[in-house]
Amino acid sequence: MKNLPMPTGKDIRHALLTGLWFMFLTFPLLVIKVDPAEQSVTWRWANLVWVGGVSAAVALACRLLAAYRAARVERLRRLPDQTAPQPKLPLLFRPERLLPLGTLAMLFFLAFPLVFSTYQVNIMTTALMYVILGLGLNIVVGFAGLLDLGYVAFYAVGAYTYGLLHLHFNLGFWIALPIGGLLGALFGILLGFPVLRLRGDYLAIVTLGFGEIIRLVLENWGAFSQGPSGIADIPRPGLFGLDMTLDQSLVYQYYLTVAMALATVFVVNRLRHSRIGRAWFALREDEIACQAMGIDKTAIKLTAFALGAAWAGMAGVLFAAKTTFINPASFTFLESAIILCIVVLGGMGSIAGVVLAALILMLLPEYLRALAEYRMLVFGAVLVVMMIVRPRGLMSPPRQTYSPSR
């Protein structure tokens, strides 16, 4: 970082003002602590100094960085050959790197249980389940452009499908898996019908409401779902009736999840590059022009809801098998929000981006444990910062080319 601009007087004044502003802002909450019962006040002045100092420093750094960037762009613009500065793709994301990178990632995932502890494997299984969920929601939000804030409902449908099928009919994982997917799809269509006419944020709030309704019904209709006490002792997936120790079973489940995630990537990728995928994109881009091109809006919307939900349903079955215990508390709005974050952060419509975002968002809190109670604070801040730094997500979807003849 040569040519780092020196802070000017203006920069310093700006930084100082920012510091002062944050000192004012955080004054009541960070400095004063009262105990109403004891009628005592604690003044924590040290916090004020910290806030002022840190925010001023950060403000200065941000300003300098912005100035540095502006200067660099200016310099590049003045280059004699007039070539506009090519927006250079980061090394990792250049198309020609995708294949070796994918192979490397594959090897990493396959070897993971051999290298890491069961606990790490378990965490990775969870992260991979979110990869599946993220890709499923990506169909609805990223491809078809339908903002769904109640995605967790279908996840719940899948989980309870397995839970209840096991409880009442003693059915196993492998039978529950397709049924969970089908029921998820059915519920997706069920939700899809009433919301066909709704757009954008109205759609968002209705899906949110739908998600809540499903959770509340599971919570209150005890006779059906066992209410908040949930369903326990759901068996882990079996393998030809083999008896497995816990460790083996967790590793087996890990590979199962890897396979599911791979299958999801495969299918979603195929869908994306198909007649249906193009219809979804068209729907996302312009609903009216999409109809004028002879696309049945109703059918294509319902397909998106159904397929997205089917994946959530299957992920739900996996989830039930993994935790062996489910109750409605696992299916709150926050869960939907996190899955949505994965999709948007990954870059709407980008499959590789969604996979990466799911891994980051799911593993981040795990490895942020070192920060102890600051974990969620940092998590929230990271979401904001990542959005500001990369508002279009980590990766933008690759431009599809079909040029067999040329």
């Binding site: 502003w21 944050f22 109403p36 939000v141 944020d201 998590f379 929230g380």
Partner: protein, 300 residues
């Protein structure tokens, strides 16, 4: 009949509570089309600021009315400041970004602010003093009406009227409407759009904070998570009424509050939220833009 009246008042109280928060949602949505998930946190921060200020003041022995006024003022000022800062940091850089980017930023902000208050103050529930005095004239009707509920009702009606007038008749209000309609055009006719958007956030947050004080004083306790749940309900109410419309937000809030109260009273509180959300779905099916929202027919 008395039972009906009781439920009616209870529903109106709930509705008024939702309305105080929903107004801010609807203002922000109206002007930049963002579901500001962090808005509930403004309500929570307002309540905490009010608690801190009122406790400090009561330790110094100020009389109750003075405490109420000063606490409300402080809550409004600081929540307004938080609203301003949040917009500057988390939304303004994303104004021209894809539509969902600010939404995620808002969710992140909401998580951040909740944990900020958790760390700065406490994770536990803390008692909130009853700042609204008991009105003597309500004594005979005490079983039906309570003074804090009545105050919330009065304040929310007042605020809605004031806001409607402000937006209809003042210069700033006109600038707000112009910005909401077409930001580029507003900029061209010389409106300082940044300032108007900031002002909207400050006003909305300050309103939520006053709501926070009144509501906390009504239920007597707060913690860092109250904003989220109340925020979701208020947002639902705003959409129900037609998001972007100020009378709509209030109407939607009362419809939601009354539905919940009557559902609890005549059916079961087990399913009050199911009723609330089912009503939302039903209304939107028949009126896709909410009760008072203008159906935006897209020009072909």
């Amino acid at each position: 009949m008395e039972y009906f009246l009781e439920l009616l008042f209870s529903g109106l109280t709930r509705g008024a509570i939702y309305a105080l928060i929903a107004l801010g949602y609807t203002m922000v949505y109206g002007i930049i089309g963002l579901i500001n998930f962090a808005h509930g946190e403004m309500y929570m921060i307002g309540a905490f600021t009010a608690l801190i200020v009122s406790s400090v003041l009561s330790i110094y022995g100020l009389p109750l009315p003075a405490i109420l006024v000063l606490a409300a003022l402080a809550a409004a000022i600081w929540a307004g400041a938080y609203g301003f800062t949040v917009e500057r940091l988390a939304y303004r850089p994303l104004r021209d970004a894809p539509r969902l980017a600010p939404l995620i930023s808002a969710i992140g902000m909401s998580i951040f602010l909740q944990n900020y208050v958790l760390l700065a103050q406490t994770s536990d529930f803390v008692p909130f003093p009853s700042l609204v005095p008991e009105f003597a004239f309500l004594e005979p009707y005490g079983a039906i009406v309570d003074s804090s509920g009545l105050t919330i009702l009065a304040v929310s009606t007042l605020v809605m009227t004031a806001l409607t007038l402000l937006i209809k008749f003042t210069r700033t209000g006109k600038a707000m409407r112009a910005t909401a309609q077409d930001r580029k055009m507003a900029l061209l006719v010389g409106i300082n759009v940044d300032r108007i958007i900031s002002l909207t956030f400050v006003t909305g947050s300050a309103l939520a904070a006053v709501g926070g004080l009144l509501i906390a004083s009504h239920i007597g306790q707060i913690n860092f998570a109250i904003g989220f749940i109340a925020g979701i309900k208020a947002f639902t109410a705003a959409v129900l009424g037609g998001i972007g419309s100020i009378p709509g937000a209030v109407l939607g809030s009362f419809v939601l509050g009354l539905t919940e109260a009557f559902a609890t009273g005549y059916v079961s509180s087990d399913y009050e939220d199911v009723f609330a959300f089912s009503l939302l779905v039903l209304i939107l099916i028949f009126r896709p833009a909410g009760l008072l929202g203008k159906a935006a027919t897209e020009k072909v």
